[in-house]
Amino acid sequence: MRFRFSKFVLFIGYSFLYLPLICIVIYSFNESRFVATWTGFSLKWYKALISDPIILRATFTSLKIACLSATVSIVLGTMAAIIINRFPRFQGKTLFVGAITAPLVMPEVVMGLSMLMLFVGMNKLCGWPDGRGSTTVVIAHITLTLSYVTMIVQARLQDLDRSVEEAALDLGASPTKVFFVITLPMISNAIVLGWLLAFALSLDDVVIASFVAGPGATTLPMIVFSSLRFGISPEINALATILMTVLSIGVIISAVYICRRQKTTNI
């Protein structure tokens, strides 16, 4: 009796989570222009999508921005995690930790607005950044994703067995060498995970990008958002299906990869 109840709960819960998404996938193959009336199987919305130059360009811009900001963010985030975890207290450390974790709870609207005001002010003061474009979006996304990445790497650093590092230091390795030869391989899982999360967050963001993007840097979420304001369209169904497939395959592969690696390193 109890067992059945928990199965029932799980069934309802997962249907709530997945049925809406499955609906999108099924109706992306619908032939009709009207989204909810099924008339027949067709791939024409995928074809329309692939031949749409605006969407293609926006996809490229988004991928470029996401790659760049995830990469810079993982480097800065690892440094920040080391500062938080391995450096003795210094003046302003609490402020630093607070500022680095604040974007986790900061509303996107506020973050976008404050970043935009900074860019406008900087432009007035020193002429940089000249206008707004991909660069400003990348900077804003790095600041946003830095907090997530730092938290992930920091958590891993905290769990790490420090005796290995101390042994290497005792045997005369320089701190830099210890970091690259010992610490970095040990936290590589967290770095991969952090990069993926930063990439996904950047690829997903619409609010901050709308504030700080110039006319030349329309990202994919911005296009999707503006077309959603006008309601549903079968092309968006197709786009959503492609995005979901790519993202979930990526996540599953990396999860399996990380699990495997954890198993082998533990043995």
Partner: protein
């Protein structure tokens, strides 16, 4: 292969030494956070005290050199005064708090049984079930909102099905109200509720519940006197994780809520993009931040008090 790696490492370490590595590692993230996070916040505060004018950028500066030598600082509290006197803004705050609160409670009601069922399922399935909870979070946020537009809109899936089977003659207005915004928020933030609940419930010793049953307690009583108190940390964490982002949410109320569901996030957006009133948008943001920070501080205090009482 190994030799090349070692050479690169040597090169890097010599480079780092000449730069004084430690200082470099400290300074780069510090400067980044200072320039791109703390400065923007200060600018936001500054602009919230300035006056709106028609110029580029559209606000007055606070500091003036009046007649050459006198430093004049003008703080304009007018923006904040309007926020607390204009009905539209007060209504906006109330709507945001109500929607965020209702969504948090619904997330708790849906999430708790799910987290409990996952925690009680066999070890083998648990990882898969958790993975399935997290997976929608990795697919695009906009797509998840779009899924509900597709279900709820007048020519959407639900209306279509109901019309097909002749339950209704005209499409129901399911979208463009605050209920739709709530559903969207619940759907988008449910994983944030389930995960902390799961990790709290997983730690509960099941023998306690069995003992309660043996001693004649009813399932409902043992649920409220054992499971709920023991999973309280998860309940607090999950509620904060849903409530805090929900209160500043912009995309979901904008797309699902229709014109009358004016939340703070949407007001900030409208003030900025619609009215071009930067000072009002800035002061709204500051008030929104206070709304966000408040629950965080409360939960932090709770933790501190708990730690103190443990000592």
């Amino acid at each position: 292969m190994y030799r090349i790696e070692e050479k690169i490492i040597q090169l890097l370490s010599s480079m780092m030494k000449s730069f004084s590595g430690k200082r470099l590692v400290i300074s780069i993230p510090l400067i980044w956070v200072l320039v791109f996070f703390i400065f923007p916040c200060l600018i936001l505060i500054k602009i919230s005290f300035s006056e709106s004018i028609i110029a580029a950028p559209p606000y007055t500066s606070l500091v003036d050199w009046a007649s050459g030598y006198i430093l004049q600082i003008r703080l304009n509290l007018g923006n904040y005064m309007t926020l607390f006197t204009d009905d539209m803004y007060i209504y906006g705050f109330l709507t945001s708090v109500l929607i965020a609160g209702a969504s948090t409670i619904c997330c708790l009601i849906i999430g708790f049984p799910m987290a409990y069922a996952i925690a009680r399922s066999s070890e083998k399935f648990r990882h898969i079930l958790l993975m399935l909870v997290v997976l929608p979070f990795w697919t695009s946020f906009l797509i998840r909102v779009y899924a509900w537009i597709m279900l709820l809109s007048p020519c959407g899936f639900i209306n279509n099905m109901l019309m097909k089977f002749h339950f209704i003659d005209a499409p129901l207005q399911l979208m463009n109200n605050s209920y739709a915004a709530c559903i969207g928020i619940i759907y988008a933030y449910l994983p944030f509720m389930i995960l902390p609940l799961y990790s709290a419930i997983e730690k509960i010793d099941y023998s306690l519940i069995e003992a309660a049953y043996d001693l004649g307690s009813s399932p409902i009583k043992s649920f409220f006197s054992i499971i709920v108190p023991l999973s309280a940390p998860g309940i607090y964490a999950g509620s904060a994780l849903v409530f805090v982002p929900a209160i500043g949410e912009f995309v979901i109320p904008e797309l699902l809520g229709g014109a009358q569901t004016l939340t703070i996030g949407r007001l900030v957006w409208n003030e900025f993009f619609g009215n071009m009133s930067w000072p009002t948008a800035a002061s709204l943001s500051i008030v929104l931040l206070i709304f966000v920070v408040f629950p965080m501080v409360i939960s932090q205090r709770r933790k501190e008090i708990k730690l103190l009482s443990k000592d």
